[in-house]
């Protein structure tokens, strides 16, 4: 396994472990804990950075020649592919978030607006403005 491959594994495993623990603790604490805490997120990020630095230095100490070697053409190709996959992931995540937001806002309007007005709730619900889901969201789904 090359130094860069080891480094990529360190990144993936440390991120999975530390963020996994962070999100598990947030979910486990529940909504009564007060929700988002900037301090604990900051601690998580610092722990992640420190762990990655320590592990990468440890690997570099054991394989100094590989660690010093510059990236070759295959490393660059792997990096480009990884970037493309990562970018596709973030793009899909953004689309999913937008889709979720639209569906949620549409549901909220249908449930909340009739309660504000008096009269037949079904009538209000029917007169609500339409919230069409964009075609690109449907293609993503």
């Amino acid at each position: 396994m090359s130094f860069r491959e080891k480094s990529a594994w360190i990144s993936m495993l440390s991120m999975s472990g530390i963020y996994g623990f962070y999100f598990w603790s947030v979910v486990h604490a529940g909504p009564k804990a007060g929700g988002f805490h900037f301090g604990s997120l900051l601690e998580t990020i610092i722990a992640l950075v420190v762990l990655q630095i320590v592990l990468t230095i440890a690997v570099a100490i054991f394989t100094p020649r590989e660690a010093k070697a510059p990236r070759d053409e295959r490393d660059k190709l792997i990096e480009l592919r990884a970037m493309r996959v990562a970018y596709a992931g973030s793009r899909d995540e953004r689309r999913a978030r937008l889709l979720f937001r639209r569906v949620r806002s549409s549901n909220r309007l249908q449930h909340e607006l009739p309660a504000v007005h008096s009269g037949d709730s079904r009538d209000h619900a029917l007169r609500l403005p339409d919230h069409p889901i964009p075609a690109w969201c449907l293609t993503w789904v």
């Binding site: 396994m1 090359s2 491959e5 590989e66 070697a69 070759d72 053409e73 295959r74 490393d75």
Partner: protein
């Protein structure tokens, strides 16, 4: 899709049992890349292919062979 095969492994042994690491240093790539090229998992760039054939002092087409699927 075609397929590229090579004679690198044989040529390395014919050149004083050259190791993958030694070849990698001569053509300025990593040992893992040489291994991937040898196993046919990675097709090198034209520049790297010329460097490899220069190391062995052979023309490019005697180091790399292209087989086209029918």
């Amino acid at each position: 899709m075609g397929m590229i095969r090579n004679e690198i492994r044989r040529l390395r042994f014919e050149h004083g049992e050259m190791t993958q690491q030694e070849l990698a240093e001569k053509i300025k790539v990593t040992r893992q890349t040489v291994n991937a090229i040898e196993q046919g998992k990675y097709s090198p760039s034209l520049e790297a292919a010329f460097r490899i054939s220069a190391v062995f002092g052979r023309p490019l087409e005697s180091v790399f062979h292209y087989f086209q699927d029918e």
